[in-house]
Subunit: 226 residues, 2 copies
């Protein structure tokens, strides 16, 4: 079995013993660069990220792992219960989490379930919203069946918006979550990409992306129920 990626290095002792007990091989890393450098031939089997010691670093690591050509899955977060609240706006960064301190057997059971889930392709490889379809595996988009020729950033932006239909995002949120890093300066960059997206969605569907003045942008209609 390919090893699991573990952050940080060194990992908490409880984690290493849990992993060896369960029989999972792993490699710990300090930075995302290192993760890329020592990546095994056949890729990682998954990742375990400790959120507590260094939330910033952990979040950055998750973003990095998710943003590659082939997003790393599954990604498990380890977190103390008092940090749970800070996960909410980051649902897309992980597949499951496990509370610290570790309970006997829990991590193993979660990993087993996680591998079972991802192995059977339970995760949706398509995002659909009305006439719009995004194929996450092939990085293609289509509207009304007609394929859209999107650039990388356009695709990423559209994907992010389409996975949170109805919700409003400020330019800063979009920059940090789609572009993936903290930003100075060009908030207008978002505008330009939005414009080009609207242009590529045909005239009739340009309204899929609405601007909320003085706030940001919203994809699709709002949800009043559910």
């Amino acid at each position: 079995m390919e090893p699991l990626l573990v952050f940080p290095d060194p990992p908490p002792p409880a984690l290493t013993t849990a992993l060896t007990d369960a029989g999972y091989p792993y490699r710990a890393v300090t930075t995302s660069d290192e993760a890329t450098r020592i990546e095994p031939e056949d890729g990682w089997a998954g990742a375990l990220v400790c959120f507590d010691d260094d939330p910033e670093g952990a979040a950055a690591m998750c973003r990095h792992l998710r943003k590659r050509d082939l997003p790393l899955e599954p990604l498990m977060l380890l977190v103390h219960s008092n940090h749970l609240a800070s996960l909410e706006p980051r649902e897309d960064l992980f597949d499951d989490f496990c509370l610290l301190p570790l309970q006997p057997g829990e991590l193993e059971a979660r990993l087993k379930h996680l591998f079972w889930r991802t192995g059977r392709g339970t995760r949706p490889e398509l995002i659909e919203y009305g006439p719009l379809v995004l194929n996450l595996e092939t990085y293609q988009a289509a509207i009304d069946g007609r394929p859209l020729d999107l650039t990388y950033m356009e695709y990423e932006l559209l994907r992010f918006l389409a996975t949170h239909p109805g919700k409003v995002f400020t330019r800063e949120m979009l920059l940090s979550r789609v572009w993936g890093y903290e930003y100075y300066g060009g908030a207008r960059t978002v505008d330009v990409h939005i414009r080009r997206l609207r242009a590529k969605l045909s005239e009739e569907h340009a309204a899929l992306i609405q601007t909320v003045r003085s706030v940001g942008y919203r994809f699709g209609q709002s949800r009043w129920g559910l």
Copy 2:
């Protein structure tokens, strides 16, 4: 939001408090027949099944819920760590599990993530006051179900007032708390915004915002108690 299906009935006290704290409605059932019988119009939002007291019954319930024309999702298992091993051959019966005893916040976080994963968005954060509904995520407002087209400041002002129903605010308070900075000059600005708000709330609801002469404005009915 549709209620969650909970098994068994009565559920453990810790579970009921966790659900009510998190604000999720639920209905507890004893048998799968009962689950079918009292199923809401729009189906269940998901299911929570306690595995411990009656493993056989719990497993049977899960199988039943998964076997319908429209398999119930998401399905969360509640289980003590000493029963973890018995889950292994039943991976397909649940989407996530949560260890007993419950840790503060964990169940809520898991449900949130689960709903996010399975595509039903997390329930939107709403402010409701009588016929008025403000959706904080989408920056939209509605009255009597009819959407209101508010500008940014109008929305902010209404939101501030609606979060403190019954309380009177002077123009200066509103300026400093809604506009957000100390102000010279135009206290009448508030008047204008109030006027436009009243205009956009229909004639019948204009009285939601009352003027308190020589003091300021109040949203909703005054409170004599509390």
